[in-house]
Symmetry: C2
Subunit: 211 residues, 2 copies
C-alpha cells in the first residue's frame, strides 16, 4: 500500500492517523503541494483532482478523498472500529467528521488561500482573518454537537473518525493562534487522542519534510 502524502495537509494527516490506528503499514510518497507537484501530469493521471491524499491499495486501486479512504479502511480492516456499532451513533460520528471536513477545512485549503491572494488581491492580514473566521464559526458548533455524546473522545470513550478529523483541525487552529479555551470537549478529545501513538506519530512535525 502506498500513501501519497503531504506533511501539512489536514486530509493526509487524517489518513495517516487512520492507517496507524488500524495498524496498516504503508509506503509514503510526499507530494510537494507548495511547489505544485500535485499538478504534475503523472500525479493528475492518478488523481485528477490534484489533491492529496491518494492511497494505492495492494490490489492497485487508487483511492482518493480522505473520508472515503478512511471508510474503506474501516470496511477492509474492521479492528479496532472507528465507528460505533449502532446506526444513530454512526450518523453522529459521521456528522461530527463532516462538520469539520465540509464546513471548516475546505474554506481554509491552500487553493482557496491562493485564490484570495492572487485573484482577489487580499493581503496576508485579511487572509488570516478569513482563515480564523471559519474556524471560529465552526468550532463552537462542533463543541455543541459533540458535547452530549462525548466521553474521553469526541464520541464516547474510544477514538472514532471524528477524532481523526478533529486533531488535524485543532493543529491548524493552533498554527493561527485561535484560542481554544471555549471548547473543553474538543480539547479533552484532542488531548486524549494525542496521547495515543497512532495520533502522535501522524503529526506533521514527525513526517519527512519535503526538500
Amino acid at each position: 500500500m502506498k500513501l501519497y502524502d503531504y506533511f501539512r495537509s489536514s486530509a493526509a494527516y487524517r489518513v495517516r492517523i487512520a492507517l496507524n490506528l488500524k495498524g496498516v503499514a504503508s509506503e509514503r510518497a510526499s507530494v510537494h503541494l507548495r511547489r505544485g507537484a500535485q499538478r504534475a501530469e503523472d500525479y493528475l493521471a492518478m488523481n485528477p483532482q490534484g489533491l492529496v491524499p491518494a492511497l494505492v491499495t495492494d490490489s492497485g486501486d487508487v483511492l482518493t478523498q480522505s473520508l472515503a479512504i478512511i471508510e474503506w479502511l474501516e470496511e477492509s480492516y474492521p479492528q479496532p472500529p472507528l465507528l460505533p456499532r449502532d446506526a444513530p451513533g454512526r450518523a453522529r460520528v459521521r456528522a461530527l467528521s463532516l462538520a469539520i471536513a465540509c464546513d471548516i477545512h475546505p474554506l481554509n485549503n491552500l487553493r482557496v488561500l491562493k485564490y484570495l491572494s492572487t485573484e482577489l488581491g487580499l493581503p496576508q492580514a485579511e487572509r488570516d482573518t478569513w482563515y480564523m473566521h471559519w474556524i471560529r464559526e465552526g468550532l463552537p458548533a462542533l463543541e455543541a454537537l459533540a458535547k452530549p455524546g462525548a466521553g474521553r473522545f469526541l464520541f464516547g470513550d474510544q477514538p472514532t473518525i471524528a477524532d481523526v478529523c478533529l486533531v488535524p483541525q485543532l493543529y491548524n487552529a493552533r498554527r493561527y493562534n485561535v484560542s481554544l479555551d471555549d471548547y473543553p470537549t474538543l480539547l479533552r478529545a484532542d488531548e486524549n487522542a494525542n496521547k495515543l501513538d497512532a495520533f502522535a506519530a501522524a503529526h506533521p512535525d514527525r513526517q519527512e519534510q519535503p526538500q
Copy 2:
C-alpha cells in the same frame, strides 16, 4: 420522520432525493435560510451548526450533515442500495460524492457568499466569478474521476450517493450558466437520474416555496 429543509439548499436537496429513492416518507419543515431562520434559538438548540438539513428520526434522534444522514438511510433502509457492495466500489462512490460535497459545494454556500459581500465588500460580479471558479475547477476533475467507472449513472448503471450529490450540483451550475458541454459523463448521469421520479420530485421547483 421530519426533514428540516430549504428548497434551494443543495445539501437538503440531496437528502430529499435519498429519502425518495429509499421510499421513506417524511414530514417537511422549511427553514427560511435567506431570512436567517436557521439562526433562531429553537433551531440552533436542535442543530447547533445552524444549517439545513436536519432529520429527526422516528426514535427522536436528530441527524445532521447530508452525507451522514444518507449513510444512515443506507444502513437503516438497505433497499435499494445507494452504494456498491464491494469496498473499492464503495470507496469510489464516496470519493465522487465528497469531491462535490467537500471540494465544490462548501465554497459556494450562502454563508460564504455573504462573507464575500459583507466582510470583503465584493460586488456581485466578483462573487459570481468566485462561484463559477469552484465549479469550473471541480467539474473537470469530477468528469475524469467518474469516467472509468460510469455507466448510465456516475458509477455503474444504478443510482448511487454520487448521483444524489451530482444532480443538485449541476442544478447550481446551470443557475450560474456554467457550460456543461465538456462533461458528457456527468451530463449522462444527470439526465438518467432526472428521468427517475425520486430525483425529479426532489427538485427545488417542486418544493413548497417558503413565504
